[in-house]
Amino acid sequence: MSVTTRGVRSTTLTAGRLPRWAVPAIGVGSLALAYIAVDLATPGSANPGLVVALAFVLHLVGVEVSARAVEGGRQAVDRRAVNLVVGAFLLALVPLVSLLWEAINQGIARLDPQFFTYSMRNVVGAGGGAAHAIAGTLWVTGIATLISVPVGLLTAIYLAEYGRGNRTAKVITFFVDVMTGIPSIVAGLFAYSLMSLLFGPGSVFGFAGSVALAVLMIPVVVRSCEELLRLVPNELREAAYALGVPQWVTILKVVVPTAISGLVSGVILSVARVIGETAPLMIAAGFTASLNNNPLAHPMMTLPVFVYDSIAHPGVDVQPYYDRAWAGALTLIGIVMVLNLVGRLVARRFAPRTGR
């Protein structure tokens, strides 16, 4: 038996191992070294981004060299892969954390009771709030959800249960995919022109915004629900058929309940996807400074449009408008986060019970 194949020279089971503190120590060392190097190059004004980037490269090299020396090639490759994966993860985290930090930092100033209870009616300069925009966002997104969920879920049921690869299903899938790629501004223009055709030119109101969002939301709902329904094992359908249960009852009482937790989170994710849409709502739902709780008449303000409007058209005293914009952005992030939490809770509540 040959023992000299590709670097395996001994038959012993033990191998060199870097001590636990080695990798963190190399990290700290690389950071210090990178800082010194950058500071030497640009005295007094070391760019932190450059320091971190250089430190990461030094760390990669340092770990590679020491691991290769002590542990051998295979372990060195493993450590390199771990370093790259962790590096990519941290890189992806940077914009997220930075965005949250900035939104909280700037938005917290105006996140007071007045912000949630006052609209912008007759407000110039400081004061006022986004009550009209919050109400508008809830109305517009709520109605869009009411339109999209039945349409999307029923389409998904057709595709996953009845269509199973026939011609109609293929055509529907194709158009759903095309719909996924519609630019949101086009959805807004579509809703605006549809409403103008139906109710005369210049028909800008909350429901038109809901239609625009529904156009964007339906394909997302269809796709996620279809995937989830396909995940339900065929054995469960067969079990129901073998009990003499008709297909529609099987879908209603066996397939959908089995997938319900995923369906609910899919719907909530699609709501989160459209709640921040700005462009279509600017066209279809319009701008207003007043609270409007009638989605069928008059423009309706929404949070993204409120944020845009505050930044794009501030008054003479700019700061209160910027503060309100950041508070609006923070509120929007908060709503999306609450939606996600509710989705998780609902998913857990409905999940198939598997307790032993």
């Binding site: 469960l236 067969e238 009990l243 003499g244």
Partner: protein, 259 residues
């Protein structure tokens, strides 16, 4: 509560491919009939045609006649849903409904078909079906727990209880023990012996000892080669098939010379 099945010149197709060719046989009531044969010989496909479950597979169709006490399953106006209420089925892998408790699983056939029964009647059905399936003593104290929390063998017996709660005339079993350990297999074989008092039972099995132990009649299916249809080679009393079969292929298969 047990009906006889007469199959005449049955062919099963998947699209253009003929999977099973010219099967003619009779399945007696109050007996256990075993289908044996190598993989892919069409025994499961044929079993599914006995309650029209093959229609779940896209492109599958049947030519020929299957009479359930003289009534053709494939006659005009026959509703497959009604067929399946009379001919129940147990599958290879236990498949209790994960969203339902043990009790709800047993009652699934009744509640899903919107039959309204008083609570006492439901409780009676649950106890009778679970007793019949030899599961009552093990689960009587946890009827409201999820069915998916049971062991594999218990889940399979739960599926049998669910099938017999519908009081079918015939019970089809597609390799019901292939995913189970020997002890659970023994429990289910004992159960099959008791169930034949009340039902006509048809079982597909890869386990020849199992066929010899539980069945009264054995049917041997074989396939000439890949791409050719499965055929019924020989059918007869289990004693005869396992001791002095008429056809050489049967003897070869049973004695382990191929397959």
């Amino acid at each position: 509560m047990s009906k006889r099945i007469d199959v005449t010149d049955l062919n099963v197709y998947y699209g253009a491919f003929r999977a099973v060719e010219d099967v003619t046989m009779t399945i007696e009531p109050h007996s256990v009939t075993a289908f044996i044969g190598p993989s892919g010989c069409g025994k499961s496909t044929f079993l599914r045609t006995l309650n029209r479950m093959h229609e779940v597979i896209a492109g599958a169709r049947v030519e020929g006649e299957v009479l359930l006490d003289g009534e053709d399953l494939y006659g005009p106006g026959v509703d497959p849903v009604r067929v399946r209420r009379q001919v129940g089925m147990v599958f290879q892998r236990p498949n209790p409904f994960p969203t339902m408790s043990i009790k709800e699983n047993v009652l699934a056939g009744i509640t899903l078909n919107n039959r309204r029964l008083p609570q006492a009647a439901k409780d009676e059905i649950v106890e009778r079906s679970l007793r019949h399936a030899n599961l009552w003593e093990e689960v009587r104290n946890r009827l409201d727990l999820p069915g998916s929390g049971l062991s594999g063998g218990q889940q399979q017996r739960l599926c049998i209880a669910r099938a017999i709660a519908m009081e079918p005339q015939v019970l089809l079993m597609d390799e019901p023990c292939s995913a189970l350990d020997p002890i659970s297999t023994l429990a289910i074989e004992d159960l099959i012996g008791q169930l034949k008092e009340s039902y006509t039972i048809v079982i597909v099995t890869h386990n020849m000892q199992q066929a010899a132990r539980v069945s009264d009649t054995t049917a041997f299916f074989n396939i000439a080669g890949t791409g050719s249809p499965g055929r019924l080679i020989e059918v007869g009393s289990t004693d005869k098939i396992f001791s002095t079969p008429d056809i050489k292929a049967t003897e070869d298969y049973i004695s382990g010379r191929f397959g």
